[in-house]
């Protein structure tokens, strides 16, 4: 005991010192940056509200994608790294459907119905692709060690990216613009872009539906039972494979819808568009507590808002030149911080239980 104690204590001390230094640094940046920015009065209240609304709309998209990560993790303890690509397939399906609806003129006469249809279409396509992926790439590997399906997921991710690249080319497609959805709405005296509000409302509606399904339907209860104990669940007469496929399909449907909403805001669709939102949504899922459904929703919103408000609030006034370039850095620093200081996430439970 005494023999190892000195060097061990030294490393302990160094690690803890580093962690504390890191914490203090982040807190200092946040506090000083916030103080300086607010006292400089550079942004008006309207601008702050605009930042927050953008953050919420971006965050609700992250939240929708994060649900798929968290649900699959909850049931299989596996990170489905192909989930970002499922989001991409949703955006593509929505793009083709919306382009077709626009060419027939339906989209401009009935923008909301058209939008709803393109979301539903994207959800169906994404869910079907995810079900195929589960059947081909994950199910045969069930029972293998945890690293194996993870590698398979990375393979699926590349496969989907390059399959879409092969079919539709490396270019960027411009999402059709819907005239009726351009412009602002005036909400409590503040002008807010219509699409942002549509995105937030649709995303929240979708999350409410998912929450209802998981909490109150027979299938949802079976999903929660399977995530706790597969053997006992099958003793109840629950077909575990069917529940797992349904989980993939539901998560993918959310990601597919997110793809359409993302394309509404950014107006672009491309084969590599799933990577960054996929990783961000994974960050959001970890942030909220992976495996936890309300956690994914909260994590997505928190991440979206911090990304949107953070550069202006924390970074700009401490002398960083173009703080918006660092918005991704904020997201990934959050991921590192969460993993270091609260690995179970905001709403998560003990991770160690099954790890």
């Amino acid at each position: 005991m005494m023999r190892t104690s000195f060097s061990e204590r030294l490393t302990d001390w160094a690690v803890n010192g580093f962690l504390w230094g890191f914490r203090i640094l982040i807190v200092l940046i946040v506090v000083i940056g916030t103080f300086l920015t607010i006292s400089s009065g550079k942004y008006t209240n309207e601008q702050w509200i605009d930042f927050i609304v953008s953050g919420i709309s971006q965050g609700s998209i992250y939240a929708l994608i994060a649900l798929g990560y968290t649900m699959v993790y909850g049931i299989l303890r596996m990170i489905n790294f192909a989930h970002g690509e499922i989001f991409m397939t949703g955006a593509f399906s929505g793009y083709f459907f919306a382009t077709w609806l626009t060419s027939t003129g339906f989209m401009n006469t009935n923008p909301y119905i058209g939008l709803t249809f393109s979301i539903i279409f994207a959800m169906l396509i994404s869910a079907s692709i995810a079900m195929l992926v589960e059947k081909i790439a994950y199910r045969p590997l069930r029972g293998a060690s945890r690293l194996v399906p993870l590698i398979s997921a990375i393979g699926v991710s590349f496969f989907l990216q390059y399959a879409f690249r092969g079919f539709f080319g490396p270019g960027v497609y411009a999402y059709p613009s819907i005239d009726a959805l351009d412009g602002d709405w005036n909400i409590f005296g503040i002008e807010i872009l219509k699409v942002k509000i549509i995105v937030v409302v649709s995303a929240f509606l979708m999350m409410a539906i998912l929450y209802y399904v998981v909490m109150f339907t027979k299938m949802g209860k079976a999903m929660r039972a399977v995530s706790e104990n597969k053997d006992v669940a099958s003793l109840m007469g629950i077909d575990v494979n069917r529940v797992i496929v349904t989980t993939f399909a539901l998560g993918a449907a959310m990601a597919g819808a997110a793809g359409v909403l993302y394309a509404l805001i950014f107006r672009q669709v491309s084969f590599y568009m799933g990577i960054v939102p996929g990783v961000k949504a994974f960050t959001a899922a970890v942030l909220g507590g992976i495996g936890n459904i309300p956690g994914a929703m909260v994590g997505g919103l928190v991440l979206g808002i911090l990304e949107s408000v953070g550069p202006a609030l924390f970074l700009e006034s401490i002398g960083i030149d173009r703080p918006y370039q660092l918005k991704d850095a904020i997201a990934y620093i959050m991921l590192v911080m969460i993993l270091l200081f609260r690995p179970s996430g905001i709403l998560g439970e003990r991770v160690s239980k099954k790890a």
Partner: protein, 237 residues
């Protein structure tokens, strides 16, 4: 008329030969107990009957119908329910949701409500706690929940794995009274127990299992008086 027939089953874990040709016969309305030491294969036997493990050889049939061709989640539909070892309640689901999961194989809403009523009269404690998550229940309450959950499927045969495990003596008596009551209401029971004395006191017949083989079978009364059983499982000299 035999209800559940297990004929010469051999079950393996990988290369480990866990059950070496076990045969059991459980008649309708009986309580049959399976006693034996740790690692004798008691739990393996129940897991094989319920379909969680598939034997390499042998037959299992219920009223003449082959059970081995069904996966675990379909065996329930044939009338065999199991109360797993360590209770296996879904800790994050509420008591009510756990019971609903037990009735997963039952399609009609009336049947579900009727069975819920039945469980709440059998286990009034569960009614009080129906909105609590199962993880907050005490061990005895969890055992009641696991039992009630298995009964929600209206089984003809109930497999029970160590219902007394980890319970205070008072609760053990209570659980065994309930098992007797369930049996009197017409459910056939195969009971696996470490607590051989309690098990033999409510069972009609018993089997002694040793390293994957049945070494002895007799009426419960005779087993209780058998010197070998007394020495090995009842702690008597």
């Amino acid at each position: 008329m035999s209800t559940l027939t297990i004929d010469n089953i051999h079950t393996y874990y990988g290369n480990i030969h866990a059950l070496r040709g076990i045969s059991l016969k459980i008649e309708k309305g009986e309580i049959v107990t399976l006693i034996g030491g740790n690692g004798a294969g008691k739990t393996t036997t129940l897991r094989t009957i319920s379909g969680l493990l598939k034997p390499r050889e042998g037959n299992i049939s219920l009223d003449g119908e082959d059970l081995l061709k069904y996966p675990a989640h379909e065996v329930v539909y044939k009338g065999v329910s199991m109360v797993p070892e360590g209770r296996g309640v879904f800790a994050r689901l509420t008591v009510l949701e756990n019971l609903e999961m037990g009735a997963f194989s039952r399609k009609s809403k009336e049947e579900l409500n009727h069975n819920l009523e039945k469980m709440f009269t059998l286990f009034p404690r569960l009614k009080e706690r129906r909105t609590q998550t199962a993880g907050t229940l005490s061990g005895g309450e969890q055992q009641m929940l696991a039992t009630g959950r298995a009964l929600m499927a209206n089984p003809t045969v109930l497999l029970m794995d160590e219902p007394s495990m980890g319970l205070a003596p008072v609760l053990v008596e209570l659980i065994f009274d309930i098992i007797k009551k369930i049996n009197e209401d017409g459910t056939t029971i195969l009971l696996v127990e470490q607590n051989a004395l309690m098990a033999l006191s409510i069972a009609n017949r018993g089997y002694v299992l040793q390293t994957g083989e049945i070494t002895l079978t007799d009426t419960a009364q005779n087993l209780k008086n058998n010197p070998m059983v007394q020495k090995a499982y009842l702690g008597m000299e």
